[in-house]
């Protein structure tokens, strides 16, 4: 499976797709990027008059690149996708509208249909904005 094919395999679409590009992938790790468009819907409310990317969205971005994309690569070819079952994330810095982030994920283990990864997100200055452990179980892709 190529880096481009991974993206076509994901079960997400706008406005809840948080992967732009996969830079590197192998059996044990993956690296990808996403740019938070300043017009994304959640900036209207988080926060009032002061848009900051919500932690849940940063977590989702880490999970889509670090877990779902790596899972798609590891399980190919199949109709399976990895659904998040747990996350433990530390948030170190804010991510503002229009910022581009890079997510790097390293596999802890993939056994009995469970994928566990250590994932970090960095901003364009190379500063770690959040990091932690996310795990998920593979299951049949939800219907369109």
């Amino acid at each position: 499976m190529t880096k481009q094919e991974i993206l076509t395999h994901l079960p997400y679409q706008k406005p809840f797709l948080f992967v732009d590009e996969i830079l590197e992938v192998d059996e044990n790790s993956i690296k990808g990027t996403f740019t938070f468009d300043k017009d994304l819907y959640f900036y209207q409310g988080h926060f009032k008059d002061y848009p900051v990317t919500p932690g849940v969205i940063l977590t989702e971005t880490m999970a889509q690149i670090g877990l779902a994309c790596l899972g798609a690569y590891l399980m190919a070819p199949s109709d399976l996708v990895v659904m998040m079952t747990s996350s433990k994330i530390d948030f170190l810095r804010p991510v503002f509208p229009s910022e581009k982030v890079t997510v790097t994920s390293k596999k802890n283990y993939y056994r009995f249909n469970k994928l566990s990864c250590n994932i970090i997100m960095e901003n364009e200055a190379g500063e770690v904005v959040c990091k932690g452990e996310i795990a998920g179980m593979s299951m049949v892709k939800p219907h369109e």
Binding site: T85, Y109, R111, F112, G136, M137
Partner: protein, 86 residues
């Protein structure tokens, strides 16, 4: 290694994965991990991995699918320990 010894080790391994402490305290061979201890499938995988580490065994997919209650889990542990010894 007798069953009581394995059950004690299992209780210790399972503790962080269940909120049902009473069912855990009174754990017997008939305890079902999913029904009685309300452990989800993702945490069950972590329990199996902890069991591998604790007992120094490797558990295959077929054995893993049997390990939903204490009785079957003990049987798998004993089988793998015996295979190691042999």
């Amino acid at each position: 290694m007798d069953n009581d010894q394995i059950i004690n080790d299992l209780k210790e391994i399972i503790t962080p994965y269940t909120d049902h402490k009473e069912a855990l305290e009174t754990l017997t061979e008939n305890t079902d991990l999913l029904i009685d201890l309300k452990i989800n499938s993702a945490n069950l995988v972590d329990i199996i991995l902890d069991i591998e580490e604790k007992f120094g065994i490797e558990i295959d997919n077929d054995s893993m699918t049997k390990m939903i209650n204490v009785k079957e889990t003990i049987a798998v542990i004993k089988e793998k320990l015996a295979a190691n010894a042999g």
